[in-house]
């Protein structure tokens, strides 16, 4: 029981970090970046190449991965999404799916479909023994990372000038421009942050589930998107809550009901939540007076 709880929270924290990336980009740029899961996969490969292949020390490999994903995210935004800034959201959505397939196939060309065995990059953190259960180093790292990232993002968007400018852009691009805010640069920074988070998620995901293939990011990406919607997309604490809930639900469903049915149960829960609360658990109820 306690074991499942810990596994669930650990898995949920991975979802939470991915969901934070989704929600950040959605909250500011108002678009669903369906390629987010594949940026995670690229992050995993980047860390793998730097760490296992080139033999760089772990912190350097993680930093390298963050760097690669940040640049990649900004490039994707510039090349694929920016030209569609005034297009319909459906066009942007389909482009995002296209980018997703592009990244997967690029990875297939570079790294082939042979699974790479990912080294545990967070094993330097000691595991904790609590009587009968052991909390692994990956679990500790994942939970800590998700909490730190959530707090940092909240502080960033609430307190810093750049963060407030991002919220201003998300609400009214024209008015933001009139304030002197460079809208394109702001959206670019948003993608940089979201993709940097994807790299961290990639390293943690692959440390926990060490088989790295070009489709590694797909399912966790979709699950995390579900988590973001469950918690209320656009809301930072919502992404965290949604992620953890989804992880717990999935783990307990696997343990007590059926492994095969677990995904159906997870998505069923999403449907129920959306029927009752269409904006998600912590979704913003927009208070406007016109």
């Amino acid at each position: 029981m306690l074991n499942y709880l810990i596994t669930g929270i650990s898995l949920g924290s991975v979802y939470a970090i991915i969901a934070l990336g989704y929600t950040m980009v959605y909250g500011i740029a108002k678009m669903l970046n369906f390629a987010h899961g594949d940026v995670i996969m690229i992050g995993g490969y980047a860390a793998f190449c730097a760490g296992a292949y080139m033999g760089w020390p772990t912190p350097c490999a993680i930093l390298f991965s963050v760097f690669v994903c940040t640049v990649l995210g900004m490039m994707i935004e510039k090349l694929a999404y920016k030209p569609l800034r005034n297009a319909t959201s459906l066009a942007v959505l389909i482009t995002a799916i296209g980018v997703s397939y592009f990244l997967q196939n690029m990875a297939l060309l570079i790294w082939t479909s042979n699974p790479k065995s990912f080294p545990n990059m967070v094993s330097f953190i000691p595991s904790i023994n609590l009587g009968s259960v052991t909390i692994s180093s990956t679990t500790i790292a994942t939970i800590a990372a998700s909490v730190i990232i959530m707090i940092a993002l909240t502080l960033f968007t609430e307190k810093t000038k750049m963060g407030k400018a991002m919220r201003a852009v998300s609400e009214d691009k024209g008015a933001a421009q009139l304030m002197g805010i460079n809208v394109n640069a702001t959206i670019s920074v948003t993608f940089a942050i979201g993709s940097g988070l994807a790299a961290i998620a990639g390293v943690l995901l692959c440390s926990a589930y060490p088989t790295l293939v070009p489709t590694t990011g797909s399912l966790p990406g979709i699950k995390a998107f579900t988590a973001a919607v469950l918690g209320g997309i656009g809301s930072i604490p919502g992404a965290m809550l949604g992620g953890i809930l989804l992880g717990l639900l999935e783990t307990f469903a696997k343990a007590y009901i059926s492994t095969q049915l677990s995904d159906a149960i997870v998505f069923g829960a999403l449907i129920v939540v959306l029927i009752v609360r269409p904006t998600g658990l912590l979704g913003k109820k927009i208070t406007e007076k016109v």
């Binding site: 400018a165 421009q177 002197g180 805010i181 016109v290």
Partner: protein, 235 residues
């Protein structure tokens, strides 16, 4: 001397010729108003000067510098602030954060002083500084929009329909504030449908009709001009 000089400006929305070869100027220290009916091109003119729209031809010179081709987010750095139609405050940001965004282009060290100045002008905003802008009343949102525009310390403040949708008592209040801002040294370009009010505080005025300037003169003269009275002042 002229602070803003617009010459032979032509603006299109696709194939629609919205602004037809208009020229006007705003001198240092003046209140100038553009009046006209719905769809005459008043807001289009302001949005073009503010950089949100690109003119097809014509020149916009502000402070001896051409603004044509300047990106909207750089226009405000040159000392020209536009308080847009419909207020467009950031509804999900607090009053204080909205004001901070108004000072986006200025060094952080100067922001507190400017916020104090705005609170001085609009005591109401000070009372509500923590509140999210979406919960303010229409009049308060207009005050916030004007305060936010003042945060950039503009040489020229462009106001687009500041009285729109406000109760008469609030309209008076907004016009008092405009006069107050002007007396404190801000040059003002005002776009209004409320021609009576606008002309009564303006030094000079231009009348826009379907994208052309059809009349110009001092505010006082236009208030008594027959054609203006017929068209905009109810006889």
């Amino acid at each position: 001397m002229s602070l803003l000089k617009v010459e032979n400006l032509n603006v299109y929305y696709g194939s629609i010729h919205a602004i037809k070869d208009i020229s006007f100027e705003v001198n240092q220290g003046e209140i100038v108003t553009l009046i006209g009916a719905n769809g005459a091109g008043k807001s289009t003119t302001l949005n073009t000067v503010g950089g949100l729209l690109k003119p097809k031809t014509g020149s916009i010179v502000f402070n001896d510098e051409s603004l044509v081709g300047t990106k909207a987010h750089n226009v405000v750095r040159k000392g020209l602030a536009l308080c847009p139609e419909g207020r467009r405050v950031f509804l999900q940001l607090s009053v204080a954060d909205n004001l901070e965004m108004g000072a986006y282009t200025r060094p952080n060290s100067e922001v507190a002083d400017s916020i104090a100045m705005v609170y001085d002008l609009f005591p109401r905003l000070k009372e509500r500084y923590k509140q999210v802008a979406g919960t303010l009343s229409g009049g308060e949102q207009q005050m916030l929009a004007m305060g936010r525009a003042m945060m950039s310390k503009p040489k020229l403040l462009m106001l687009d329909e500041p009285s729109m949708g406000l109760a008469p008592i609030l309209v008076d209040q907004i016009f008092d504030i405009i006069k107050d801002l002007h007396s404190k040294g801000t040059t003002i370009l005002l776009v209004e449908q409320n021609a009576q009010k606008a002309l009564s505080i303006a030094d000079r005025a231009y009348v826009l009709e379907t994208g052309r300037i059809v009349n110009t003169g001092t505010g006082e003269a236009l208030l008594h001009d027959d054609s203006v009275r017929k068209a905009y002042l109810g006889g």
